[in-house]
Symmetry: C2
Subunit: 377 residues, 2 copies
């Protein structure tokens, strides 16, 4: 293998696959990046136990200025190799596999000779058939992830809850996440498919996925599924994730539909007030704030006996229904509010001890956040 090309473009490709490469792994070869050179171009691969990323740079990409003198493949320790690449003196560099998997990296007067590993020893990526495939704009997928993934459980006691549940049925894609204290759910109509599936994707994979793809309005991503793997594919990148095994709990019945108190807020103002109140709750043992809804106003309270307290009369758009005193974890509320962006929402309550829900003021039913309150007596 021998390649000369633009250094910055190579580094860009390397950074993409490095998301999948961990320096802590029980398989030493997975600390490496697989570099594969064909006459068509350059393929880089990184992988860990959960995700694999493969990128392709076409030889015809003019910016890359690729000169392919000899095709082949090699594995290089990814962290060290990327440190070397970033410090080379010139705009281009040459990578050449000499003998015994030794790799010469040259740029200007700097000559590195680095020990590589045999590319044949790298594990094979899963083969995923083209059946069972949907297409979705990248920015829609990223929004879906950011609206739900924060609600996955951080605890391995119920592994299935560490993932987001994706269900495609009747031309609607449903994404749900819950850690059993709160729940996030988004529905998206997908009219051009008659497929159906029911999978659970690890939350950590989804976070890396949304970091891997920018918010390019034009780009479309293909999603392909197998029994235990899912592949997200765009023109120049493949992102594989394992799926979580097991049955996701039925969450439909958790979301109430009849309420006794409803209040409309601007997200930005409410978020700022919750953030202030949480300063106090974070200092206390229980981390709860109290919301008091009455005819004469809506007041938020935070309290920590040792440090002090805060109270704030909240600005709201309108309130209907019965008075209410309810306590909840402000961090759950902050995360839910951030998922709405700068808009207006309704919060619907049943009572101080029943879960309450947040919905956008417009477009209800497609996006909902649910939070379980904390009983204080």
């Amino acid at each position: 293998m021998k390649l000369t090309m633009n250094r910055n473009l190579f580094i860009q490709e390397l950074q993409k696959v490095q998301r999948a490469i961990s320096s802590k792994t029980t398989m030493p070869i997975l600390t490496g990046v697989k570099i594969e050179l064909s006459q068509k171009g350059l393929t880089l691969t990184g992988s860990n136990a959960d995700i694999s990323i493969e990128t392709f740079l076409n030889v015809e990409n003019e910016q890359a200025q690729m000169q392919i003198e000899k095709t082949g493949a090699i594995i290089l320790q990814a962290r060290f190799f990327s440190e070397v690449m970033r410090r080379l003196p010139e705009d281009d560099f040459t990578l050449e596999v000499v003998e015994n998997n030794q790799v010469a990296i040259t740029s200007g007067k700097a000559n590195f000779m680095v020990n590589g590993l045999d590319a044949d020893d790298y594990p094979h990526l899963p083969v995923i058939e083209t059946a069972n495939q949907i297409q979705i704009p990248v920015h829609v997928l990223n929004k879906l992830i950011s609206e739900t993934v924060f609600s996955v459980s951080q605890h391995e006691s119920r592994p299935i809850l560490t993932g987001v549940h994706f269900v495609l049925k009747n031309q609607v894609l449903l994404a749900v996440a819950t850690d059993s204290h709160r729940l996030s759910q988004r529905k998206i109509p997908l009219e051009n498919t008659d497929d159906q599936f029911d999978i659970v994707i690890p939350g950590k994979s989804l976070i890396e996925l949304s970091r891997s793809y920018g918010d390019d309005e034009e780009a479309v991503i293909s999603i392909r599924m197998m029994d235990n793997q899912v592949l997200f594919e765009t023109q120049n990148m493949k992102f594989y994730s394992r799926l979580l095994e097991g049955t996701y709990p039925d969450t439909d019945r958790l979301i109430p539909t009849n309420f006794n108190t409803t209040i409309e807020f601007e997200v930005k103002k409410l978020l700022a007030a919750i953030d202030r109140a949480s300063l106090l709750s974070h200092e206390g043992r229980n981390n709860i704030v109290r919301l008091h809804i009455a005819d004469d106003g809506v007041i938020l309270y935070g309290n920590s006996p040792e440090i002090g307290k805060v109270e704030e009369s909240l600005s709201y758009t309108q309130v209907t229904g019965e008075p209410l005193d309810i306590s909840f974890n402000p961090d759950y509320m902050k995360a839910a509010l951030r998922a709405f962006g700068d808009t207006s929402i309704h919060i619907h309550f049943i009572s101080a001890i029943r879960p309450f829900i947040l919905e956008p003021s417009e477009g209800q039913g497609e996006f909902v956040q649910l939070i379980t309150p904390v009983r204080t007596n």
Copy 2:
């Protein structure tokens, strides 16, 4: 005490004194900021075992929009108080000490009530007489610090070496730091003083000091000394540091003056090459790189048996004297080179086992870096 003023300006003042406030301290009152209000303005104080910072904001500062309704003083837990200040909803805020050291902080509709501590319990700052005082431009002091402080020892086995040695004598200010493997020395002529002193200031204090004062070309700082304290003072800020006790070793005799090999480099190019070579040395056990100086060129080698090796033919301006093969810690070299900035330097060698020195190509004698090589056989 009751004060209404611009929130951002208050936060700026608070950030300055927070440099001196640690949340880890054996004296709980030192986790607090002292807030003192007189008819002249607002004084904030933060302190730890090593440094104390006091800032003053004049009531006549128009941006501050200060309304002083009642003078007084209080201590508030600094970290929590600054979190509150940053999250208040409006551009201005009111701070009022009510009863039992409770402090009401209000801004818009947000009302905090925070437990404070009695200001009388705050330790007194050292009283420093105006005698024994020099004046020096802030940017000169900052340069002096950045040129030397990285060479102080990080180990407490010889505490005196964790500080920078400042000596004023014969109208020359000398600053020296050494960890016994390398040494940094800068001399500055100070023509307007007949004072003399000999003090050792902790390196950590100097780092905080240079962060506290920007690089304002106009500002002048007064330095005042007592037996165990030094005060750096500008118009609106006082920075106190304790001094290190003990006798600093005699470093004059350590700096050689006769050499057998001299080579001139551009700092930027040499630094980049050393940085590349250090990638390999950092992976090995010894962390050394080797410099080979001969008639046919100058070559830098880095090597790590497990990972690989690098060699680079170095660009230099000129070389004189005998051939030489010398090994050294590249991290010491990188730190020394960075202290010179983007300029040209001479490196003077005696032999492979004797310390070598770096000096600017112009203005020799005023600034020198010394590095002890590593014997490899």
